[in-house]
Amino acid sequence: MKKMKLSNLYLWVVFILLYVPIIYLVMYSFSKGDTMTNFQGFTMAHYQELFADTRMIQIVIDTLLLALLSSLIATAIGTLGALAIHRTTKPLMKNTVLSLNNILMVSPDVIIGASFLIFFTALKIPLGFGSVLLAHIAFSIPIVVLMVLPKLQEMRQSMLDAARDLGSSNAQILSRVILPFITPGIFSGFFMAFTYSLDDFAVTFFVTGNGFSTLAVEVYARARQGISLEINALSGVMFIFALLLVVGYYFIQEGQAKRKAHAKKGGHALEKTH
């Protein structure tokens, strides 16, 4: 019993540690002062300031647009990539492609940013929204592949045989069986790509140039100049947004988990005979 309490205590400490900075941040967005010290009474002034800041609003819109566009395109390319990898039968080829796929997943952001900067400069692609969009698509593709591929592998060969047996052509198998089956994976991939894009700082920082800015870059620029409680207000808004995203993601995962559980049940029944 005592051990139980001790472990709970430990968990609570970790959770408090994780959340204190965020709460601290949001709390001061309501402070009347100008710094994150000495809470000086409740005000919504910083939020008003934030919503009146047209440059900031524009940046928020740009950031969301960038995330949406890049994740949509990355999802399309990544799904095709996963299908391609899944169809590859030669193990050497498959492993090589998978390793290449994962390079961007494990590379430090500065390397991705620096090498993309060289790449864009070499191809004379002007730095700005376009280059940032390309970069975000590029680093989101591997995560989409990694989210879709397990769903493809979960698919039993007999299911595809059944579809063919019942008269479907290749295109019909793809559109009526494979795509609906891997849809949860595609959604997870899209979601991950979206948050990757929203969250990215370092890569964007390298390839953004002067004209275009995302939220993270803007926060960095302002934070280097010192405390501005408008940023705290922004954090408050983003925390709510993140909360919504997490809840959304949670439901996607739940849906998948349920399916998986059912699939396992079915698989279990089969195992009995072996």
Partner: protein, 272 residues
Amino acid sequence: MKKSSTNVAFYVPYVLWLALFVIAPLVLIIYQSFFDINGHFTLSNYATYFSSGTYILMTFNSVFYAFVITVVTLAISYPTAYLLHYTKHKQLWILLIILPTWINLLLKAYAFIGIFSQNGGINTFLSMVGIGPKQFLFTDAAFIFVASYIEIPFMILPIFNGIEELNESFVNASRDLGAKWWQTFTKVIWPLTISGVKAGVQAVFIPSLSLFMLTRLIGGNRVITLGTAIEEHFLVTMNWGMGSTIGVVLIVAMFIIMFLTGERKKKRGRRA
């Protein structure tokens, strides 16, 4: 049975991406590392890197910081993941672990500027208990603390998944065979969850080498890691050749880490 031409269509966009955004940048950064600031082919970048004490020391420091961050993160994360496994509503708990990772890293760093500042949260607290204010911001400890704070979820998630995959019967079998809790842990639980730990180490160590924004905002330019140096060379001094050289060293370090921690595992959770 028959190979259809649609197969090729699947490959095109993806292979194009592999070629343009994976292979080409990698080749380019290696290529760039052989040019000096005036665009002449040279090996001097590597010569500078390996002969100057600054770069060697910086590399050593980077690895050391990353190592400390990884160890601190692991020490906090493993027990957390282990205990989480036995909680009742673990999906909810794990969601709460993930949630902070959805707040932009810059905002979290920014929060610590406030917390660690002269009159910030920590110092107010210390003054209250009578110790008096201390300098936190722009210290090594602050950098390590904030970096660890940011990386903890990325360590917890793969370890948690590793423990989840562990079949409870193994633990019961070990106990049944007479092992004490500690023996069960060292002989059964740890070896069977080591892959999760490796994945976590990978997900923390490599990014820790390149947290230039933290070194700037929290470390106050006192801490210079490889990442900071790359950023400096690319965006401030415009010496891309030298920046690329450091990049190549970082890539090599990355492959060594990958090799040491075994097969390439996908990162669980997200990266900033």
